[in-house]
């Protein structure tokens, strides 16, 4: 039971944090809750479909289907987050440093709301399919299904709790500072997801360069531990990253910051492209 709780919670942390951040970013925006719930719902549905077709998926693309699927999902999420930041920077000047104004501005551009809902959906999709497979495996092998299910549900509940804690933690930040904080958070979140995408592409052999490990801090903080997972999502912490992961992480941050800078300077922003 405890084992199931920990496994499910570990998977749910990432989606939980992302939902909490998105909820805080879109606080006060009309219809934002519906968008987030819709994104999460679509993610759950997608996760179940992925779980059902796990076998076909892993056989696709010469056995690299899973990796390529995960990497695509991550890159799409990075693009959405980058776009949101750039959009917010563009409209930043209209915002009278008041959350309600942020709300109105975002409400006028609910395309960015759609982008964030997509990010939520993709996070739930990726983590959810693993949870679904794990729970299915448990039930199929008849390992005292009830207690494991209770553990699994407990893990999900803890994931939801993570969302609330993140949300309330963020909205307790003074409104003047919140915008800067969430912008920085989304940038780091995007960089971390981009580095994760690299890990999948290296695993599938799509990227073969710079595979050496840069550092090994797994003895200090494993990115499998609960705290490690939280940092993994928030700032992209990895305990044994490859060189390419570090390069892409830094490039993503630089690219997003440069794009938002250009936008605020009134220049024509370049199209936000996820770091290659």
């Amino acid at each position: 039971m405890l084992g199931a709780l920990i496994i499910v919670f570990r998977e749910a942390i990432e989606a939980g944090l992302i939902i909490g951040i998105v909820a805080a970013v879109t606080q006060g925006v009309e219809g934002s809750r519906r968008f987030i719930a819709g994104g999460a719902g679509a993610g759950v549905l997608g996760a179940l479909i992925v779980a059902v077709f796990a076998e076909q998926l892993s056989r696709a693309f010469e056995g690299s289907g899973q990796e390529l699927f995960n990497a695509s999902v991550l890159i799409l999420a990075v693009a959405m987050l980058a776009w949101h930041n750039i959009w917010m920077a563009k409209h930043g000047r209209e915002l009278a440093q008041e959350l309600s104004a942020v709300g109105k501005a975002v409400a006028r551009g609910d395309r960015t709301l759609f982008a964030l809902a997509t990010v939520v959906g993709l996070a739930v999709l990726r983590e959810g399919s693993e949870v679904a497979l794990f729970l299915y495996g448990v039930l199929a092998s008849g390992e005292s299904g009830t207690s494991v299910l209770i553990g699994g549900l407990g893990g999900l509940a803890l994931g939801a709790l993570t969302s609330f804690a993140t949300f309330f933690g963020l909205v307790s930040i003074p409104p003047k500072k919140l915008f800067a904080v969430t912008t920085a958070m989304i940038t780091l979140l995007a960089a971390g997801l981009a580095a994760q995408a690299v890990a999948f592409l290296q695993q599938s052999g799509t990227i073969t360069a710079l595979t050496d490990t840069v550092w090994d801090t797994s003895w200090i903080l494993s990115d499998k531990s609960i705290l490690g997972r939280v940092l993994h999502t928030l700032i992209g912490y990895a305990d044994q990253p490859s060189q390419m992961q570090v390069v892409v992480y830094v490039l993503t941050i630089v690219a997003i910051m440069a794009a938002t800078k250009l936008t605020t300077m009134g220049a024509q922003p370049p199209a936000p492209a996820p770091a290659e």
């Binding site: 076998e55 892993s58 497979l133 794990f134 890990a199 044994q240």
Partner: protein, 107 residues
């Protein structure tokens, strides 16, 4: 001219030899790995096939090998392992961490 051609051939075949990685197989049965200790030579890339003979999915995971992948029930997954330095590289099945454990021993 011939010498150059020969050198060129050696170069090509040498590369071809390096690229054709030896294949090693791990099986999962009753949530246990067989062999639990897989020996592979150092400094050579290798291909690893993980066969899941159980009726339930397993997530094959190894931090040091940088692998994380769900292997569905009754199917197999193939991994390309980079040339490794001598040492022990742990792997485990995340869905059954208690029993599904093993190491790749690189010598």
């Amino acid at each position: 001219m011939n010498r150059i051609a020969t050198a060129f051939l050696i170069l090509i075949t040498g590369f071809a030899g390096a690229a054709s990685a030896e294949t090693y197989t791990l099986t999962i049965k009753d949530h246990k790995f067989d062999p639990a200790e897989l020996k592979i030579p150092a400094d050579k890339p290798a291909t690893l096939v993980v066969k899941n003979l159980d009726g339930t999915p397993e997530e094959f995971e190894s931090k040091p090998l940088r692998i994380e992948k769900v292997v569905p029930a009754n199917s197999e997954a193939t991994f390309q392992i980079r040339a490794l330095k001598a040492g022990r590289y742990k792997f485990f099945g995340e869905f059954h961490e208690d029993s599904a454990k093993g190491e790749v021993v690189v010598e």
